[in-house]
């Protein structure tokens, strides 16, 4: 009954935005576009080509000379404009859902500001480097805090990040390692909360979003494990950072906590069909791809699937993620073009074949 109610009334509140986001998805660059972009010799050429896509005059209206960082910031600006258009037109519960998307960026921003402050960087210098999707008022004050507790009680208690601090409060001094741990703890709480939020949503939203978030959780678990090799992070510490909403939970995570080298991680991954391919050795003859890239590829695949169904919020999340991947691709190509690394130019991740 709830499902019928939800789908029946979906279009009343969210139909416009869903249509909008599907229209915007149609503007995502295709394989042919990437092919053309990869042929460019200068950034000017890329600008010329991007003009014929949905980006239009995005790059040509700037007066400064083109640089990769300018391209990056323009693309990001574009994404933020689109997102804020969606957000300002959203009604609950879609607005909550969209807010959830921004929390991830907020966590990244907080951690970046903390590490920046530890390195005695000026806040004014750090702020422009924060992702604008995760911007909040109290951002600039993050540097004041010395311990996570202080960070929480003084600054972040008013922000939507506050509920994620439940496990993260500690009195140890913030250093770089601690900041990284804080990030992962926050992310764990965030993903779990987002996951349960999506699960509660009736209709297709849960069906679509849960696999995506589960994948995200597992990816974090893998990456935490791989990155912790060679550091003094113990297995038990590690396991407290793993988000407990993925497919790996609980057995896979326990095995991951015990893993001590890459081979063991691979052995864990081979138990799961979804992740087996990611850690497999590349076939001889094919190009080498890092497992991060393969995770990205898998993510793109999952996000594309979201567009196969109607009447759910997954399309919004997927669109933002796909667009982000697209920005990464364009920036990668632009980097290759400026540094004349033509051989690596094809290492982008195609979105729509």
């Amino acid at each position: 009954m709830a499902v019928i109610y939800f789908t029946g009334h979906f279009n009343v509140d969210h139909g416009y935005l869903e249509g909008l986001v599907r229209g915007m998805k149609a503007g995502i660059l295709t394989q042919a576009d990437y092919h053309n972009l990869a042929q460019c010799d200068t950034l000017e050429d890329m600008k010329l080509h991007l003009q014929s896509t949905d980006y239009g005059k995005l790059l040509s209206s700037s007066e400064e000379d083109l640089s990769v960082s300018l391209v990056d910031s323009k693309l990001r600006e574009n994404l933020v404009t689109e997102f804020s258009c969606l957000r300002s037109n959203a009604l609950p519960p879609l607005s909550t859902f969209l807010d959830y998307i921004t929390y991830g960026y907020m966590i990244d921003n907080v951690v970046m500001l903390i590490t920046g402050a530890l390195k005695q960087r000026d806040v004014a210098e750090l702020l422009p480097r924060c992702h604008p999707l995760g911007g909040f008022d109290q951002m600039a004050a993050v540097g004041i805090a010395r311990t996570p507790t202080e960070l929480y009680s003084a600054i972040l208690v008013d922000t939507p990040l506050a509920p994620f601090f439940q496990d993260a409060v500690s009195d140890s001094n913030l250093d770089e390692m601690e900041a990284e741990i804080l990030r992962n703890k926050l992310y764990k709480a965030y993903l779990e909360s987002f996951h349960s939020f999506c699960k509660k949503m009736s209709g297709a939203t849960g069906d679509i979003m849960c696999p995506v978030l589960e994948f995200e959780a597992d990816r974090r678990a893998f990456i935490i494990t791989v990155n912790s090799f060679g550091t003094d992070l113990s297995g038990a510490d590690r396991s407290s950072l793993y988000p407990a909403c993925g497919k790996l939970y609980p057995d896979g995570l326990r095995l991951l906590a015990l893993a001590e080298d890459h081979e063991q991680v691979k052995a864990v991954a081979s138990c799961y069909t979804d992740y087996k391919a990611i850690f497999e050795d590349p076939e001889p003859g094919s190009e080498f791809k890092s497992f991060e890239d393969r995770f990205f590829e898998q993510e793109v695949k999952l996000n594309i699937l979201a567009f196969l169904q109607q009447f759910h919020f997954g399309v919004f999340y997927s669109y933002i993620k796909l667009k982000e991947q697209e920005s990464r691709n364009i920036v990668w190509i632009a980097e290759c073009v400026t540094q004349r690394q033509k051989s690596k130019i094809h290492n982008y991740i195609p979105i729509i074949q």
Binding site: N36, Q39, C40, E44, D45, L48, H49, S52, S60, S61, E63, V123, A124, D137, Q138, M139, A140, A141, G143, I144, S153, A154, I155, V157, D158
Partner: protein, 768 residues
């Protein structure tokens, strides 16, 4: 408007380098030809004239900036009637330079202005802050003055004082931070201040009465002046950071009242000065923009044309010697002379030593369809194009649409008054079209109406005509010629019947009652009749079917012209004939019956008039011996017609595929290729100079395509066509009944409307 689309030919243009720009510019002004892309394999940024296009884009960017500034300053950009020609290449640099100079000047002035404005805002904020913080200090000092009256807490007082002095001795002193913050952020700001400094601060704030513009965004919003007093440097740093984080505008806090007054004084004079300077800057900016706005329109058009020319030049290929550009164009044969003239003109302008010239080249590609339109026919053409564009040299349906479309509309909309309203509206649009065209309204609904103004005019005029036929004017009848009916003859001396009966039946059999048909349209007396609706329904229904069948047959007949023109005589027999037979034997016969009934049955024997519907149904089931025939031999004829119609279906379905199959298997065909071969032989002679790079290859391709014949494919297409046609005939005939239905709806809607408004007015009048 022409019967067929224009005859086209493929032509090669040899544009001498040096004059190619002028030539293309000339051609562009004429709009005669369609260019073909000769380097499809080259990506858009590797073509020859990319740098020129980039320059044009740069100019467009500057122009965009310029126009935005002009719009911001509320200066109108005058538009000229004639669009300027594309500038010659040497003038381009001049324009470019001019634009760049303007941009620099503008951006400098704008930057200055921005700086001044910011300065001014800061000073205003500072003044506000000073004025308001004075009240804070004063209220506090008053508070202190009250202090000694509280005799109960003298120790506390001294304690805190001694505490202060103690801290002061340690190097900490009372610090003040004052500034402005946006109204919305105050609560969060205060909270965070409290949390971080653990209450070791005192915050007092008050709202500024005026709305101040934000320094960075220029948004007008409410601001709040605050004053934070705190102890110690450590907390001071934190306070500073928090202020930064909330984007507060901080200003130095004066030590005492005298300093405050001094600062306020100096601020006042500086604000005045700034206002002066700002005013002058704005004036200057306006002057610059005013000057720029005069030529802005010309520049915009010129740059656009220039960019278009370079895009076209990018489609051309170079010949081996690099001496000239080769372009391939589709051009109407009748315009070849104009094309030559334009090229000559272009070469003359470009001062080329060798003139550019045109060469016709043979081609097997299907040329593009060109239908010339004018402002009257373009609307109708676009209606046709909404359904599809015809093939090259196919019969164009647009000329007939000019009559049929408005007429079919009018059949549904028949009302003299409403038609008049529509035609007057359209007439107004037509008469003021020049003025409206200039306005370039961006309103989508309005432009739809405006572009269809001639269609609307025709629809209005036709509605007037059909309105006259229906004798409807705002759903009331006009009695112009005097009704042909009179009740007088029936009741000369029986006045009693007349008085006692509300309804009377006029019997046309009674001599004198019906004196002859109304000269034009429907007799106005029907407007009063109770059976008006059933009479009009029967009339309009039959009329719709008649119009529909005639319309459809006309369309089928038009296809003959296509078959004959494309030398496909077999299509006349295998497609057209069965189609026409099918339509006429079934629905043509229906039309015949309608007319027969109208002619054969008069007023006297109208009670014996049969139902056509029953007869038509009986025709299909081949029964009906039990009802009286309309005319002798009806059964035989009907069976004959049905059999013919049924026989034409298999002919339509199988005729063409089988014939083509037979041709393919070696039958002696109707030579279609002859025409092409002849053309080629002729043109090859005078084209000996033209590069024959594709000729051989194309010949081969042609051969193959002619040889290949997929029977299944043809059969499939033909069966689809057959099903579509036969079902179409039936469903379209039914669909034409919509003419009647909508006409009925229109008339009924307005007559009930009339009734309601009239009765409403009457009741109002009685109430008054």
């Amino acid at each position: 408007m022409v019967f067929r689309s224009e005859e086209m030919c493929l032509a090669q243009l040899f544009l001498q380098s040096g004059s190619e720009y002028d030539c293309i510019s000339e051609l562009g002004e004429l709009g005669l030809v369609e260019f073909r892309d000769l380097n499809p394999s080259v990506s858009s940024f590797q073509r020859r004239f990319v740098s020129e296009i980039k320059r044009c884009e740069e100019m467009e960017r500057i122009l965009g900036y310029l126009l935005r500034e002009i719009q911001k300053a509320n200066i109108a950009v005058p538009e000229e009637d004639e669009s300027p020609l594309a500038p010659p290449p040497r003038q381009v640099l001049e324009i470019m330079e001019q634009l760049q100079r303007l941009e620099m000047e503008l951006s400098e002035v704008a930057k200055n202005k921005e700086k001044l404005r910011r300065n001014l805002l800061e000073l205003t904020e500072y003044t506000h802050m000073l004025k308001i913080t004075r009240t804070f200090i004063h209220s506090r000092s008053r508070h202190e003055a009250l202090g000694p009256q509280y005799e109960e807490f003298p120790t506390m007082e001294t304690d805190s004082v001694s505490g202060c002095t103690g801290m002061q001795r340690l190097g900490a002193k009372l610090g003040f931070v004052s500034g402005l913050i946006q109204r919305v952020k105050v609560e969060a700001f205060e909270r965070m201040l409290w949390r971080v400094c653990k209450g070791y601060t005192i915050l007092s704030y008050a709202e500024v009465d005026e709305n101040l513009a934000d320094l960075d965004t220029g948004e007008i919003s409410k601001s709040v002046v605050f004053l934070i007093s705190f102890w110690g440097d450590q907390i001071g740093q934190k306070v500073q950071k928090i202020c930064d984080c909330y984007h507060c505008h901080l200003y130095p806090h004066p030590e005492n009242d005298e300093e405050r007054a001094d600062v306020l004084d100096s601020l006042r004079t500086r604000i005045q000065d700034l206002n002066n300077v700002l005013h002058r800057t704005e004036e200057y900016l306006r002057q610059v923009l005013q000057k720029a706005s005069e030529s802005a329109y010309t520049w915009v058009v010129q740059v656009k044309k220039m960019k278009a020319i370079y895009h076209i030049l990018n489609l051309c290929s170079f010949d081996v010697t690099n001496k000239c550009l080769i372009a391939e164009v589709w051009c109407p044969v009748s315009d070849l002379a104009n094309l030559r003239g334009a090229l000559e003109e272009g070469s003359r302008k470009g001062d080329a030593t060798v003139p550019s010239f045109v060469n016709r080249i043979p081609s097997n590609d299907t040329p593009p369809t060109l239908l010339r339109t004018n402002k009257f026919t373009s609307g109708f053409q676009s209606i046709v194009e909404a359904y599809g564009v015809g093939d090259y040299r196919e019969v164009s349906p647009a000329p007939y649409t000019i009559i049929t479309f408005p007429f079919l509309f009018a059949v549904m909309f028949g009302d003299l008054g409403h038609g008049m309203v529509i035609s007057l509206f359209a007439l107004w649009m037509v008469l003021t079209e020049k003025k409206q065209n200039k306005k370039r309204s961006s309103n989508e609904i309005w432009t739809t109406f405006f572009n269809g103004r001639y269609i609307i005019l025709m629809m209005g005029l036709f509605s007037v005509y059909t309105g006259l036929v229906y004798n409807d004017c705002f759903s009331k009848s006009l009695n112009i010629f005097g009704s042909g009916w009179s009740v007088k003859a029936m009741f000369t001396n029986q006045n009693k019947t007349l008085q006692t009966n509300a309804l009377l039946t006029l019997d046309p059999n009674f001599s004198g009652v019906f004196s002859g048909p109304y000269p034009f349209g429907i007799d106005p007396i029907w407007n009063m009749a109770v059976n008006r609706l059933s009479f009009l329904n029967s009339y309009k229904m039959k009329m719709s079917v008649v119009i529909g069948v005639v319309h459809m047959s006309f369309g089928v007949v038009l296809s003959v012209f296509n078959h004959l023109h494309f030398r496909q005589k077999f299509n006349v027999f295998l497609l057209f004939l069965p189609e026409l037979l099918f339509l006429l034997c079934l629905f043509g016969y229906l039309v015949f019956m309608i007319f027969y009934k109208w002619l054969a049955f008069g007023a006297r024997d109208s009670s014996q008039a049969p139902s056509i519907l029953i007869h038509f149904i009986n025709m299909f089931v081949m029964q009906g011996k039990d009802i009286t025939p309309l005319y002798p031999g009806q059964m035989g004829l009907q069976i004959f017609l049905v059999i013919i119609a049924m026989l034409s279906v298999p002919v339509l379905l199988l005729g063409k595929p089988l014939y083509l199959y037979w041709l393919y298997r070696g039958g002696k065909g109707l030579r279609r290729r002859r025409g092409y071969e002849r053309v080629r032989r002729v043109s090859e002679d005078d084209n000996s100079t033209a590069p024959s790079y594709e000729d051989d290859e194309e010949e081969g391709v042609d051969e193959v395509t002619n040889r290949e014949f997929d029977f299944a494919d043809v059969l499939l297409h033909q069966s689809i066509h057959t099903i579509e046609y036969c079902l179409g005939c039936i469903s379209n005939t039914a669909s034409y009944l919509r003419l009647w239905a909508l006409s009925l709806a229109h008339a009924r809607k307005f007559s009930t409307n009339n009734q309601f408004t009239l009765s409403f007015l009457c009741s109002n009048a009685t109430l008054c």
